[in-house]
Amino acid sequence: MTGTILWTILILSGLGLVLAVVLFFIAKKFKVEEDPRIDEIEKTLPGANCGGCGFAGCRAFASSAVAAPDLEKHFCPVGGNAVMQQVAAILGFELQEKAPQVAVLRCNGSCEARPRVNVYDGLASCRVKASLYAGDTLCAYGCLGCGDCEAACAFGALKINPDTLLPEIDEEKCTACGACVKACPRTLLELRNKGPRGMREFVACRNRDKGPVAKKACANACIGCGMCFRTCTHGAIVFENNVSYIDFSKCKLCRECEAMCPTGAIHGVGFPKPLDKDAVKERIRKRKEAANA
């Protein structure tokens, strides 16, 4: 009895030893040479594997970054400049710092402003809803409210507000990975520069219908009056297809467009003081008078 146990232990240990030696030599012989910097870079990355950089995950990002001639096409939106500084140091590159970005919703058609005109009882998915028809409001461009963006966000930064049926973005949690931008069938979410001290201006509407049609669909719609376009002195407003868009690289945050907008479709975020519309309008009027004189 003891003999059997002893022999079993001896044979199995011997087998283990022999195989270990064989495996050791095989591993030596067929070793895959990998750039050690890949591991180093991967360690510095957040490890969320969110895909916001455009690669399949953090490891894929690291292997691609090692082979790249510069870091132009590689940026980890989650880690931001701090992480990219470390990555650049490992690779010996000079880092071009990017302005931090955040997702913004370009629709402000809350339930109150945009009445529902029919009932949708299909699958609760924006993509499905958009494939069937223009939606349960008269606006064919606005938020469908089924929460595809909420489901796509890996960081819990988006939540559909049950009162407005619009998603709300938690600026602290948003990493600008762009998952929501891809999830929205109406491309209502956009990554925009956070702006100096978090201040930014944007048009919260994408309705391309003519004014009266847009207005009938939603009280908060951009009606394509072009007032902001005519007011802006920085050339930051692109006015096309009955809707305005603010180019954040040119916007100087003077808030004149916001003050002049008749429907409140232009939103200012992060400003320390609420907008005094009358004061801004007065300023514009005086400037125009001076120009005329």
């Binding site: 499905v128 494939s131 069937l132 028809y133």
Partner: protein
Amino acid sequence: MRKITFPIGGVHPHDSKFAAERPIEVLPLPAVVYVSMAQHLGAPAKPIVAVGDSVKTGQVIAEPGGFISAFVHAPASGTVKSIAPRKDLAGNSVMHIEIAVEGDEWMEGIDLSDTLVTAIPDDPSAIIEKVKACGVVGLGGATFPTHVKLAPPPGKKAECLILNGTECEPYLTSDYRIMLERPKEILIGAALMQKALGGCRCVVGIEENKPEAVKVMRAAIAELGLADIEVAVLRKKYPQGGEKQLIAAVMRREVRSGALPIDAGAVVQNVGTSLAVYEAVQKNKPLITNVLTVTGAMLPAEKQHNYLYRIGTPLSFIIEQAGGVPEGAAKLVSGGPMMGKAIANVDATTVKGSSSVLYLDAPSTVRKEASACIRCGRCADACPMGLEPFLLNRLCKAGDLEALEANAVQDCIECGCCIYSCPANIPLLDRFRIAKGQVIGAIRARAAAQKQ
């Protein structure tokens, strides 16, 4: 009587043909018509009139915007009020020409008499030209330009023209009524298409629940002495009127995945299209009228209608003429209950393919809550394309496009048999539609990359 049908799948919804005994009535002209520029498959048409122009009934007001596109004609005479985007029945903006109707003055050269013109022109290309010039598109639902279908690519030959008189969708009766009331015109239209296709046999497929139509069509064939046209009686099964299903039923042939009916030697045309071809070639009348059914289970017999309407008449006008939306209607549908589209906007206009205004009550249309798949396999039994909807649904959720393509989601004909048969009320088709679009997009992108 030998009854044939397609071999796999299919469901048997109640046919609910309430309007079958109601003769076709001519709908009066509305005060304003809105003519959509995107009422056919393919590129939208380009308007060639300007605001303020006066147009006559049957005048060309827009020309094709591409190879697969069609001419559009004025459905009534009057003045062009505007050319602007307007909401279609799904609520999306589409370019429309608005015409304020002033009387009904037709273009010269259009034969409005009832005399039957039986002489078939000798030149096939002249027939196709005429069909194209008159803006004829497939009236079975897909609105594919007919002249493109009648000119198969070189090297391919049509062996059989199948006239689709199955009307397998429940409720709809417009095709049935035209078969009863205008059988000779339909058959001459078929003979014209046979000529255009270079001579082939023709089979008219009619489902067994329309024995009157079978009788009338057979009598008309005998009277006209058309030797190479026959009527096939099909067993009642949805979706018999699907192009591929009809070919399988009539010719016992399967159209390969990704292939066109012409590859199997078949050309399928709806009976309504055939009538439009007759009117275009023999009467020089463009496609500006069609027949539409106004029906619903809650409507009394006298409120069921089959209307001959001018294409461009607003839906709201038709609803008003038919006595308004009945009590108990929970959903308005344009088309049949299986494949039709919900009307989200009653101010939308009718288009060439409009076949009905259907009122559905809440129990038959409101979706029940979905529960988990129990793998009963009913959807796989029901699918007429031999797909496995339960598997496709899982793949759609996972977003696995490669596996979806391998499992042929692109072959889905969107007939809705899977949803209809699912005991767990899973919205199967909703997901497939999107996956199908993505897979077809990927296939096209690959083909384009290969070409370069």
